[in-house]
């Protein structure tokens, strides 16, 4: 989606474990040795974040809202409860609020303070989401930032920026792409990427998917 180019990460590249990774490993080994934790459980949690919890969960929510108007109402009204209907939860105290894109309004999410993120719906955040540049600039000049991320919005579209906190995590409900009237939820969900739910991209069009599916 090109968004990753926005920010050059400062993470170490293939330089072996960092000092903090070594400390984590040492602590883990000590706790396992004392029988206080099981490595299996740690692996399970890490695996969940890396594999099982990801944007596909948010995409299911979006696709349901596109096909079921009453679900959409509930989602916009009480995001946390509507998301829980699909068995997605665990935001531990944080409320999930869903904001809807329309032809007139485009929503984009940031956490200006740190990196609050609707992780039960989207998994791990992209590096650029945490970058000081994105956090500071998207508030001041959202249109420029979106354009740099590859999303050109017509001038008549009103851009709204939502600041996620530890209490409220925002998720964008993108507009349903044209030409998908006959599509079922599962096909629709494949059009919904992480960036669309942060608001720095649109949902993919059926054409994009067709192109991608053709080698």
């Amino acid at each position: 989606m090109g968004a990753e180019h926005h920010h050059t990460g400062t993470a170490a590249h293939d330089a072996g474990p960092t000092p903090i990774e070594l400390r984590v490993a040492a602590l883990e080994a000590a706790l396992v040795e004392r029988g206080l934790i099981a490595t299996d459980t740690i692996e399970a949690v890490v695996h969940a974040f890396e594999e099982e919890i990801g944007p596909h969960l948010g995409a299911r929510v979006v696709a349901r809202a596109w096909v079921d108007p009453s679900y959409r109402e509930r989602l916009l009204d009480e995001g946390t409860a509507a998301v829980a209907e699909l068995g997605i939860g665990g935001a531990q105290g944080a409320v999930i609020r869903v904001v809807e894109n329309t032809p007139e309004i485009h929503n984009v999410v940031v956490c200006t303070l740190c990196s609050c993120y609707p992780w039960p719906l989207l998994g791990l955040p992209p590096t650029w989401y945490k970058s000081p540049a994105y956090r500071a600039r998207v508030v001041r000049e959202p249109r420029s930032v979106l354009a740099e991320l590859g999303l050109q919005l017509p001038p008549e579209v009103d851009v709204r920026v939502w600041d996620s906190t530890s209490e409220v995590r925002y998720l964008v409900l993108p507009q349903r792409p044209e030409g998908t009237d006959a599509w079922d939820e599962q096909r629709l969900a494949a059009l919904v990427g992480r960036d669309a739910m942060i608001g720095v991209a649109l949902a993919s069009s059926p054409d994009d998917v067709a192109v991608r599916a053709t080698p």
């Binding site: 960092t18 934790i37 949690v45 303070l113």
Partner: protein, 60 residues
């Protein structure tokens, strides 16, 4: 856990998982843990998983 910030790296998820498992096992008093994290970083600052790690290291 009142707030789980996003994980920037797998080691952060490991730190979170360790703290959570110690809590579940009754080996970590959660309120005390949070107080110590807060005391470490000072008022109003946002704790990072490096802070969690340091407090966990002190606890064992």
């Amino acid at each position: 856990v009142s707030d789980v910030p996003a994980f920037a790296a797998p080691w952060e998820a490991r730190v979170f998982a360790m703290a959570d498992q110690l809590r579940r096992a009754g080996a970590l008093d959660w309120e005390d843990f949070q107080h110590r994290v807060a005391a470490r970083i000072g008022d109003g600052a946002t704790p990072s998983y490096a802070d969690w790690l340091a407090v966990l290291e002190d606890s064992v």
